[in-house]
């Protein structure tokens, strides 16, 4: 059980890094779906071995939303907008990848120094969670298309979710569920906004937003 938990975490790290490398929007959507599925799997592999009904419920909710709901929805938007399948990364492929690795190193460095309760975080969880968070931010910064930024936002949220797993007690499951609802609303609103931006600007390239500055 324990090694499976570690394996899933490592898989998450790998998806992060592939996301940074990838230039195809459909690939990004698929990877975000995979991340959702991995998160749902993590919930079913509690380190202390006590699996309860709330966790199962949460896992199903996470899988439905992050593993199936959002990717299908984003794919639908993608088709509707008729986007090119390849998005040119703003900073190339090397810089985001290098940034991701630096973030990983930084997270490992931070793990030793952060004042957390002994044994609160299972090994590797904290650095991977933080790296996921940073990778999401790098995706937001490095991709020109607004849709890729929505995926970046989703990855950031995945990182936050990962950080929250060890802190989860019985009551906080509902708290996590409400965050999920929040994310759902956010993604929904962003997709609609992107749709409108596309019709107003004939593009969802965020660089064109600079025309709006004062």
């Amino acid at each position: 059980m324990y090694s499976l938990f570690q394996f899933v975490i490592l898989l998450l790290l790998v998806t992060d890094l592939i996301m940074l490398w990838s230039g195809r929007i459909l690939m990004l959507i698929r990877l975000s779906a995979l991340q959702g599925a991995l998160l749902a799997a993590l919930l079913l592999l509690p380190v202390d071995g006590a699996l309860n009904a709330e966790l199962v419920l949460l896992s199903i909710a996470v899988f439905c939303l992050k593993g199936v709901g959002f990717p299908v929805f984003l794919r639908h938007v993608c088709h509707k907008l008729g986007l090119e399948p390849v998005v040119r990364p703003r900073l190339g492929r090397m810089y985001p990848m290098a940034g991701g690795l630096v973030c990983l190193a930084f997270s490992l460095w931070l793990e030793g120094r952060i004042p957390a309760a002994e044994g609160l975080f299972p090994p590797m969880l904290f650095p991977v969670a933080l790296t996921t968070l940073f990778c999401g931010l790098i995706l937001v910064v490095g991709r020109a298309k607004a849709l890729a930024q929505v995926i970046g936002y989703l990855v950031v949220e995945n990182g936050i979710f990962l950080l929250g797993i060890p802190l989860m007690t019985e009551g906080s499951v509902w708290f996590e569920l409400s965050i999920l609802l929040d994310v759902f609303a956010a993604i929904f609103v962003m997709a609609i906004a992107i749709n409108h931006i596309n019709s107003a600007f004939d593009s969802i390239d965020v660089a064109r937003f600079r025309n709006l500055r004062d």
Partner: protein, 671 residues
Amino acid sequence: MDTFLLALLVMVAGALVTGLIALRPVSASTNRTANLIGPGAAAVACLLGLHGLFSGGWGSAESFLLPWGLPFGAFALGLDPLSRLFLLPVFVLGITCGLSGCVSLRHSDPSEHNLGAHWLFYLLLLLGMTCVMTARDAVFFMLAWEIMSLSPFFLIDFNDRDRLVQDASWVYLVAAHLGAVLLIAFFALLWQESGSTFFSAMAAHHPANATALFLLSLFGFGAKAGLVPLHVWLPEAHPAAPSHVSALLSGAMLNAGLYGIIRSFDFFGPATSMPVWWGWLLMAMGAITALMGILKALAQSHLKRLLAYSSVENMGIMIMGAGIGLVGIHNGSAWTAALGFSGCLFHMLNHSAFKGLLFLCAGEVLHAVGTVDMARLGGLQKRMPFLGALFALGAASIACLPPFNGFAGEFVLSMSMISSLKLPGLEQQIAMVACMTALMLTSGISAAVYAKAYGMTFLGQPRTHFAAEPHVPENRHLLPLCIPAAACVLGGLFAPLAFSMVQPTLDFIPAMHEGVVEEARLAIGQTEGLLRHISLFGWAGIGLVLVLALVRRVLLARRGVKRGPVWGCGYQYGTSRIQYTPASFVEPGARIFGAVMGTRVRSVKGEGLFPARASLGVEAPDVVRGKGYTPLFQLMERACNALKIVQNGLVNIYILYILITLVALLIWGVA
């Protein structure tokens, strides 16, 4: 204290009512109503305030405390002789300028001016000044200071369609807030050290960094008082504002700066622990301010700008007096200390009277002729004799001619300098002599300035047909001006009485406590005796003039008197262009002091035996503004524009900023 609080309530009520009127659509009737209620409320409040000042006994101290429910500060008021003395010009000019404004604004065009708003801010200005001079809590003081500083912005911007007026009001706003920033730092430091916002607690605490506090107070309050180099807003704001507002700003609001400087002596610990260089710094800055102010005034041809620079000069003289007082205390010389402080305060009272009068006269000239550019005026004395007489009286007072009040004030200051020649140390004596020279030079040039102001405006022949056919004000409309005029005359003829009002103040200047008070009373008593002699000479002089006038009348009664044009010089066809112009009056002075004044003389001399064309012009742009502030603000603008690179409009980069901040905070938090 009760009537005083009632005065504050009347101001607030008046402000509320005029504010409500201002919210309604502007029409002739709303303007008329506001023009009645505003000045009416101001007059009632000021009369109540005056009653409150005198009712409790001039020398007594009263206080009033009301918690206001905020986490810090309190509505703490106090009336001591220092507050009473500074409130006197506020209330007297509050009535005078209110009435004069009511007369001058009665025909305002409703499509251009909302008088409800104007009187709202006038009342707020009065309220702000009153609260500043009575506040005994730092938070309340700063609130009142902000009300006092913000209201003039809207008052100055009365003729807001004029681009120059807009610029002037913005310059004022920036200057007022730069000063306020220093004052906030000043009170914040005091609060931090003493742990309380009450003045009494701050005064009881001996601050560790007194010099920093002193400099903050000097420049913070100095910006309001118009101390060089923080004076640049004055010559812009005063000419732009309506004249009754200029009179109130110059005669009462500038005093708030001086009040702040003197009040803040309370917070610096025992007087003897204050370093002597504070006094010398005040004296030097005062002397430079006075000289620069009067030299710039000499070069102006715009009457109101001339008066504004003259205000800078007079504030310089007062600050010099405060500096002499500090130096005297440090040297243990009660004479120097008492006469320095009392001269400063006495001159403050006198300045409020004559500067209020002169600005109101300038307003009447503007109303009558449509301009106050002296190159277009002249010959107004014959056309408006009463107004001319009032201006002449004000000019004689400010030029320190006996028997008027200006002479009495500067006489006390001179006495303080003469007594300070006994100070130990040659260098102190030399510095005192230098200051005395500066004061004498200032007074001398001031006489030239007002000879020019009165001569160019009222004497000679009209230079334009506007001046030849002015819209003559009715004498009853000039009645409010008689209040400051009477103060100028009576302040000189009853100088000992006026001076005795200053005396109780000295007990409340904290720097004066250190055992010098008794000796100081002696010095004041002897100076009062001297002033009594001077006022006797004044009475005698007036008597002599009256007798001579009578003799002249008798002698001329039997002869035919022939009148000719002024500056006719026997020419058959005289022209007004023969007479002196403001530029030619200044030109000799501008050639001597040009480097200091920053004047530029442009002269085109006629050539040949029959010169066709010649001209002379003297310009005096403000050097401090032109070469100091303008480049500084341009530099700041460039720096701020350069920072716009941060705001590049790219959403991604903004998120990058968040990322960088997050990482930096994490590292900082962990390390």
